[in-house]
C-alpha cells in the first residue's frame, strides 16, 4: 500500500488541548501544511471555543444519505455558522485517493477499512480532543478500555462512528414446532451449538428443518468468544489481544462451523441450486422459510427485513434476538461488531469543529438524540421510500439513559418479546470491531495470505482441518500486523511508537520466516 500523505505536518503533540474545559476548544490545532492553525487561532470563537466565522466542513460517509443529510441539518441548526456538505463514499480507497489528488479532501470521513486511512496518514491525531471530552466517559466500556480508534498506540486517530453488534436470532415458532425449549438468553456457545443440532430435523417428507442459517460465519464470532478473559484477553479477531494474534482459537470455531456445514445442519444460501432443491425457489432467503431455528445474521436483518410491516406474519416467523454467546459462562463478555471508524483529516483547517462534527454524526450523545428524532418519525423516508429506522439503523455507543430508552422503544416492547430485547441490549455493551476496522495490517494479512489459502472452502468441504493452518496463520498475522504498525506509526509514519514498541515490532518482522 502506497503512502500518500496529504499534509506534511501532524501536529499531534502541538495540538495541545490541555486547556479544554468541558468540550470546548481551548488550544491550537494542526492545519494544512502545518503552518496555519485552526479557525480559532486566527478568528473569533464562541465561549465554547467554536469558531464564529462562517466555515464549511465536508463529511464523507457510508450511511443512508437521507439520514446523514438530516443529521447534518441538525448539526447546522446547532452551529448556524458551519455549513456541512455530505457525500456518500462509493469506494473508500478510490474516492479518497482521487480527492487527495484533486485537493478536495473531506474534512471528516468515516470508513470501513482503517488500513487505507492509516497507511496514507489521512487521519489527524485527535487525542487531546477525545481525552478532554466528558461525553467520551459515557461510552460503552470497550471503546475506551480497548482504545477503539487508537490502533494499539496511545494516541487517538479515529472514533467509532457506526456500530452494529453481531447477533444471533431465534425463530420461536420453529422452536415450538419442533417441541424444543427456548434457551436462556445468557446462553453459552455449547448451548447454541446443541440447539442448532437439536433443531435440525428431517422427517423425510419435504423441507427439512435446519438448525442454522448464517450470514456471519460462526468462526468470526468464535474468535471473540473463545475463552475466559483470564485465559487470554481477546480484543479482536483471530485471538488478537492487542499485542499479537493466536489463531488456534479461531481454528476451533472454524472447524466447528465447517463440521456443522458438512453435517447438514446449515441451511442453503439464497440463489443456489441447494436452495431451489430445498424450498422450491432459487431466490428464497432462509430467513423467510419458517424452517430455520437459529440465525447468525447481521443486526440489520432485524430492522431492515424482519421488522418491516407484515413480514413475519407473512412467513409465519417470530424472531427474537440472542446475544452472541461466550464459550465460558461469563456474563460480561465481548461481542464482535461492525464499527465504522471515522476521523478528522490531516488536511482539515478547522479540526476542532471537525471533531465536533465527527462526534455529532457518529458516537456522540447529542448526535444520537438528533438521530432518534429522525428515526422515530417514520413518515420520513429515504429515496427508496423506506422509513429510516429500516435502513441500516445503527446501535448507540453512548450509555446515555435517555438515548437508550428512546432507542429500545423502536423495538418490540410487548410482554412476550420485551425481555428478549432488554437482555440482548444489555449484553452488547462490550463491542469489539472486526479486524479490518481496528487492527493495523489486518486487511493486508487477509488479502495477501489468509484469503489466498482458501481455508474456509477446504474446511467446509471437509477436506482440511483448520488446526493444521493455525500456527502458520498466526505467524503470518503477527508479521503483517507488526509490519503495518512500523509503517503506520513508526518514524516513517505518525511516529508515535515508543522505542520498546519499535523494537518489539521490528523483532517480529525480522524473525518472520526464519
Amino acid at each position: 500500500m502506497k503512502k500518500n500523505k496529504i499534509v506534511a505536518a501532524l501536529l499531534s503533540a502541538a495540538m495541545v488541548v490541555g486547556l479544554l474545559a468541558g468540550c470546548s476548544k481551548g488550544g491550537s490545532t494542526g492545519g494544512s501544511n502545518g503552518g496555519s492553525t485552526g479557525g480559532a487561532d486566527t478568528g473569533a470563537v464562541s465561549e465554547d471555543g467554536v469558531t464564529t466565522e462562517n466555515i464549511t466542513l465536508t463529511y464523507w460517509h457510508y450511511e443512508d444519505e437521507t439520514t446523514i443529510g438530516l443529521l447534518a441539518e441538525a448539526f447546522m441548526k446547532k452551529y448556524p455558522n458551519i455549513k456541512v456538505e455530505c457525500k456518500q463514499i462509493a469506494d473508500m480507497s478510490t474516492d479518497l485517493s482521487a480527492a487527495a489528488a484533486a485537493g478536495e479532501f473531506p474534512d471528516v470521513f468515516s470508513g470501513t477499512d482503517s488500513d487505507t486511512a492509516l497507511a496514507n496518514m489521512y487521519w489527524l491525531d485527535i487525542t487531546d480532543y477525545v481525552e478532554n471530552d466528558p461525553d467520551m466517559n459515557n461510552m460503552m466500556v470497550s471503546i475506551k478500555n480497548y482504545g477503539i480508534g487508537k490502533f494499539d498506540t496511545d494516541r487517538w486517530f479515529g472514533l467509532p462512528t457506526w456500530y452494529q453488534p453481531s447477533a444471533i436470532f431465534i425463530d420461536r415458532n420453529v422452536i415450538t414446532k419442533l417441541n424444543l425449549q427456548m434457551p436462556r438468553t445468557d446462553w453459552t456457545w455449547d448451548e447454541m451449538i446443541q440447539l442448532i443440532k437439536d433443531a435440525t430435523v428431517d422427517d423425510r417428507t419435504g423441507m427439512k428443518y435446519y438448525g442454522l442459517g448464517y450470514y456471519n460465519r460462526l468462526d468470526s464470532l468464535y474468535g471473540i468468544a473463545a475463552c475466559a478473559t483470564a485465559e487470554r484477553a481477546i480484543k479482536g479477531e483471530f485471538g488478537f489481544d492487542g499485542n499479537d494474534f493466536d489463531l488456534s482459537y479461531w481454528a476451533i470455531g472454524e472447524q466447528e462451523f465447517g463440521d456443522l456445514k458438512t453435517g447438514g445442519y446449515v441451511a442453503p444460501q439464497q440463489d443456489t441450486q441447494a436452495m431451489e432443491d430445498w424450498s422450491g425457489d432459487w431466490g428464497t432467503w432462509f430467513g423467510s422459510t419458517g424452517h430455520v431455528a437459529v440465525f447468525s445474521e447481521g443486526f440489520w436483518s432485524y430492522q431492515n427485513i424482519w421488522a418491516t410491516d407484515g413480514y413475519q406474519e407473512q412467513y409465519g416467523l417470530d424472531i427474537v434476538p440472542y446475544v452472541t454467546p461466550n464459550v465460558v459462562d461469563e456474563k460480561d463478555h465481548n461481542i464482535i461488531a461492525n464499527m465504522y471508524i471515522g476521523g478528522v483529516s490531516t488536511s482539515c483547517e478547522h479540526p476542532y469543529e471537525a471533531y465536533l462534527l465527527l462526534k455529532f454524526m457518529g458516537i456522540g450523545t447529542e448526535g444520537w438524540k438528533a438521530r432518534l428524532d429522525i428515526y422515530e418519525d417514520e413518515s420520513i423516508t429515504n429515496a427508496s421510500g423506506v422509513a429510516l429506522k429500516h435502513s441500516n439503523m445503527p446501535v448507540p455507543m453512548t450509555l446515555d439513559e435517555e438515548v437508550w430508552t428512546r432507542y429500545k422503544a423502536m423495538f418490540p416492547t410487548d410482554e412476550e418479546h420485551k425481555q428478549y430485547w432488554d437482555d440482548y441490549f444489555a449484553s452488547i455493551t462490550r463491542p469489539v470491531p472486526y479486524g479490518w476496522y481496528s487492527i493495523a495490517g489486518y486487511w493486508n494479512f487477509c488479502d495477501q495470505y489468509f484469503n489466498k489459502i482458501g481455508i474456509h472452502d477446504l474446511v467446509d468441504a471437509g477436506s482440511a482441518k483448520a488446526a493444521d493452518y493455525a500456527a502458520e496463520a498466526t505467524e503470518q498475522a503477527n508479521y503483517y500486523h507488526a509490519e503495518a504498525m512500523l509503517s503506520y506509526f513508526g518514524p516513517g509514519g505518525y511516529d508515535v511508537l515508543s522505542e520498546e514498541d519499535l523494537n518489539r515490532y521490528q523483532s517480529i518482522v525480522d524473525s518472520f520466516g526464519q
Partner: protein, 678 residues
C-alpha cells in the same frame, strides 16, 4: 445404447407456489450497503403509451423459430467453464403460447442459428420463467458475447437485477443490459418502473432498435421495448428514459451468439421459450401488439417429467442391474472390493434410479469374503455380513452381531440435502456418486457425494461401528441396489508415491491449500530450453486444482515460502496455472492480459480437462528467449488416455534479457511429483 426413462419431477409441483414472492425482503451485505444514490428525478414522459391497435403479424422476418419441435437451428447448449458447448441432447418441448415451446430445465439453454441482421432490427420472443435469479439470461445476443473473437464483449441481455432504486433488495424483470467493451463505457442497463420478477407468467418481449434514434449525448441507441404488446418506458442507468442499448449489437459476425436461457457466466434459465423472431427492420407498435396477441397466455405451464437418458458407459468396470431399472433388491452384485484396516478406497459410480422410493438406489454390503461379480455373497462359503448401508442413510447390522436390533449403538449419519422427495426424484435418478469408504478398526465411514444432473453436490456422511469386526478380519464391500442401474466407473486405491520422483508437493489426500508447498527453483537461462516431467493428481473439483508454475528472480529452496526466503528482493515475473490462467508481476494481477501472455489450448470447456488432470502425466517444455518465455504443456490422462495441449508465451516488461529467471512449482488440492528437469 440409449434408453429413455421418465422420472417424477417435483420441481414444478413442489413448493414453488408456496414461496412465490418469497424473495428476501432485504439484503444482508458484508457491511450494510449504503443506500442507493438517489436517482435524478426522471424527466416527465413525453411518450404516451396510448392503446395501440393490433396490426398484422409481420412475416418478413429474417429468422423465426416456432419452437414447436423438429426445427433446424436449435441446439441445446450449456456453459462449460468459459465456453458454451452444445450438449448434443434433444430439445424438450412442452405446451407453449402457440403450439409447443422449448423447455429448459435449468441446466442448459439453447443456441439458435442466428447471425446479426444489421444495426436496424427487432427481436421478439415469448418466455415463461419458473426461476428468478440475478443475472439469469433469457435472450442474450451479440456479435461477440464473450469476447472470444475480438477480446471485447459485445451483447444485449434481457435479465433480472435489483436495479430499480425503489427497492434495490429485490430483482425485477425485464432489465435490459447491453455492453460494448471495445467501445468503452460501462455495462449499461435499463429498468422498468415496477419491482416484480414476473416469474410464473407468460411474457412476450419485443424490442426494436433504430440506430438513427440516439441518446442526447449520441453514445447510445434509444430502443423501444414492448412487454405483452405495450411499450414500457422505464429508466436507463444514466437516468434517461426510455431503454437504451449500445451500438452494433446485431452486427453480423462469425462469432455471433444468439442464446436462449444460457450465457457464459450466469445461472441458467428454467422455464419455456416460444415464438422467437428476428427482423431487420423496426416493427411498429401495432405489429408488436400483434405478436403478443398471437400467443395464448392462458397456456398452462407444466414442467415435463424429466427424461433420464441412460448412456451406457463402455468404460464401466462393472454394471449392476438392468437399464429398465427393474432390479429387485438382492438380485445382482458387484465383485467384492477389498478394504484393509486403515485404508480409504474411493469408488466412483453412476446411479440411475427409477425414483420410486428413497431406497431405490445403490446399496453397500460389507462382508468378509471375496467373490466375483453377479454372485450372491450369501452363497459364498464362510460369508459373514457385517453391515449393509443404503444410499438413503439407512443401514443395518448383519446377523453376526447380537445387538443388531439396537441400531442407535452403531450408526451415525448426516446428510446435506434438505428435501428427501427432491433427492429421491431429481437427484438420484441420474447421479454421479463418489464414495470414500474408510475402515478404521471396527468403524466403517462412508462419505457419499451424490452429484446430480445440475452438478449439485448432495453429501451423506455415515459411520457404522461393528463390534464383531476386528482388525484381523478381512473386509470387502459389494455394491448392489434396488430399482436402479449402476455402473462402477472407478475404484481408486490411495495414490502411491513414485519412488523415482525428485520431489513432491501437496499431499496424497489432495487437500493442500493454494501456495502452501513449493518445489525448489530451477534456473532458465536466456536461450535455454528445459523439459520438465510431472505426475499431477488432483481432487478434480475445480479447474485450478492442479500444479502451478511460477517464474521468479531467485533460486528458492523447496518447501518454504519463496518470498520469505529473500525478503524485499523476491519478485515474480509470472505465475501460470495448469488450466491456462495466470498473472504477471510486478504489474499485478493481469488476468488474461494479452501483453503478459497468450494461451493456446487444444480443448474447450472444463469437464475434459478436469477429468484428465485427476491423474495425468505432464510434460512441460520451457524455452526462454530474452524477455519472452514459451511454454508447451502436454497432459496425458493416466486413466483416460486423453492428450491435451496448451501453449503460452509469457511477456513481462520487468523481465530483461539478462535477468536471472528461475521457476518452481506449487499446487492446490493436488499432489504433484516432479520426475525430471532436463
Amino acid at each position: 445404447m440409449k434408453k429413455k426413462l421418465l422420472s417424477i419431477l417435483l420441481c414444478g409441483a413442489m413448493a414453488a407456489t408456496m414461496f412465490a414472492g418469497c424473495t428476501k425482503g432485504g439484503e444482508t451485505p458484508a457491511e450494510p450497503a449504503p443506500e442507493q444514490t438517489e436517482v435524478e428525478t426522471p424527466v416527465e414522459d413525453t411518450t404516451e403509451t396510448e392503446p395501440v391497435a393490433t396490426g398484422e403479424i409481420p412475416t418478413d422476418y429474417k429468422y423465426y423459430f416456432s419452437l414447436d419441435g423438429g426445427e433446424d437451428g436449435v441446439h441445446m447448449a450449456a456453459k462449460d467453464g468459459a465456453a458454451i458447448v452444445e450438449t448434443g441432447k434433444d430439445p424438450i418441448y412442452v405446451t407453449g403460447v402457440k403450439g409447443q415451446g422449448l423447455y429448459l430445465d435449468g441446466t442448459a439453454g439453447a443456441k439458435l442459428d442466428v447471425n446479426g441482421v444489421g444495426d436496424t432490427y427487432s427481436v421478439s420472443y415469448w418466455m415463461y420463467s419458473s426461476r428468478n435469479a440475478q443475472h439469469m439470461p433469457t435472450l442474450q445476443y451479440g456479435p461477440d458475447v464473450h469476447g472470444d473473437a475480438t477480446g471485447s464483449e459485445h451483447w444485449v441481455n434481457f435479465t433480472w437485477e435489483p436495479f430499480n432504486p425503489e427497492d434495490t433488495t429485490k430483482t425485477t424483470f425485464p432489465i435490459v443490459w447491453s455492453y460494448d467493451q471495445a467501445g468503452g463505457g460501462d455495462r449499461m442497463y435499463w429498468y422498468p418502473d415496477w419491482i416484480d420478477n414476473r416469474t410464473g407468467e407468460w411474457l412476450n418481449i419485443t424490442m426494436t432498435v433504430d440506430p438513427s434514434e440516439v441518446s442526447a449525448d449520441g453514445s447510445m441507441i434509444i430502443a423501444h421495448l414492448y412487454l405483452n404488446g405495450e411499450e414500457v418506458i422505464g429508466t436507463s442507468s444514466d437516468g434517461d428514459r426510455p431503454v437504451q442499448v449500445v451500438n452494433g449489437t446485431m452486427t453480423p459476425s462469425d462469432n455471433f451468439d444468439f442464446l436462449l436461457g444460457v450465457n457464459y457466466w450466469d445461472t441458467p434459465f428454467k422455464g419455456v421459450f416460444d415464438e422467437v423472431y428476428v427482423f431487420d427492420r423496426v416493427l411498429t407498435a401495432a405489429e408488436a401488439k400483434a405478436l403478443f396477441e398471437a400467443g395464448d397466455t392462458s397456456a398452462k405451464f407444466e414442467a415435463p417429467e424429466r427424461e433420464i437418458v441412460i448412456e451406457k458407459n463402455p468404460n464401466a468396470i462393472e454394471t449392476i442391474g438392468t437399464d429398465d431399472l427393474s432390479m429387485a433388491f438382492w438380485s445382482d452384485w458387484s465383485s467384492a472390493i477389498p478394504l484393509a484396516d486403515g485404508e480409504t478406497k474411493t469408488i466412483v459410480l453412476k446411479n440411475y434410479s427409477n425414483g420410486g422410493a428413497t431406497y431405490n438406489n445403490y446399496v453397500l454390503d460389507f462382508t468378509n469374503q471375496p467373490h466375483e461379480a453377479h454372485v450372491d455373497p450369501n452363497t459364498v462359503e464362510g460369508n459373514v455380513e457385517y453391515v449393509v448401508v443404503r444410499a438413503d442413510e439407512w443401514a443395518w447390522i448383519g446377523d453376526i452381531n447380537p445387538d443388531s436390533e439396537n441400531a442407535a449403538d452403531y450408526f451415525e449419519g448426516t446428510h446435506s440435502w434438505g428435501n428427501w422427495p427432491v433427492w429421491q426424484s431429481n437427484v438420484m435418478t441420474d447421479a454421479t456418486v463418489t464414495l470414500k469408504i474408510t475402515r478404521n478398526g471396527n468403524a466403517i465411514s462412508i462419505v457419499a457425494d451424490n452429484v446430480d444432473y445440475n452438478g449439485e453436490s448432495n453429501v451423506m456422511n455415515y459411520t457404522v461401528k461393528q463390534t464383531a469386526l476386528t482388525d484381523a478380519d478381512d473386509l470387502y464391500v459389494t455394491v448392489l441396489g434396488e430399482g436402479c442401474y449402476i455402473e462402477i466407473l472407478e475404484i481408486n486405491d490411495p495414490i502411491t508415491p513414485d519412488a523415482n520422483a525428485i520431489d513432491a508437493i501437496g499431499n496424497t489426500d489432495l487437500n493442500c491449500g493454494f501456495w502452501s508447498d513449493w518445489t525448489a527453483a530451477y534456473g532458465l537461462a536466456d536461450g535455454e530450453t528445459k523439459t520438465i516431467k510431472l505426475n499431477n493428481y488432483s481432487i478434480g473439483k475445480e479447474i485450478w486444482q492442479n500444479f502451478v508454475m511460477a517464474f521468479t528472480n531467485k533460486e528458492t529452496a523447496a518447501h518454504a515460502a519463496p518470498a520469505d526466503q529473500f525478503p524485499g528482493e523476491y519478485m515474480e515475473y509470472a505465475v501460470v496455472r495448469a488450466d491456462g490462467w495466470g498473472w504477471g508481476a510486478p504489474e499485478g494481477d493481469s488476468g488474461a492480459a494479452a501483453d503478459c501472455y497468450s494461451v493456446e489450448k487444444s480443448y474447450a470447456g472444463d469437464t475434459n480437462f478436469i477429468n484428465t488432470m485427476k491423474a495425468a502425466d505432464v510434460e512441460i517444455v520451457a524455452t526462454r528467449n530474452g524477455a519472452e518465455i514459451t511454454l508447451k504443456m502436454t497432459y496425458t490422462g493416466k486413466k483416460t488416455g486423453e492428450v491435451l495441449t496448451e501453449g503460452y508465451v509469457l511477456k513481462n516488461s520487468a523481465l530483461a534479457a539478462d535477468s536471472e529467471v528461475y521457476f518452481f512449482f506449487t499446487c492446490e488440492a493436488s499432489y504433484v511429483e516432479l520426475l525430471s528437469v532436463e
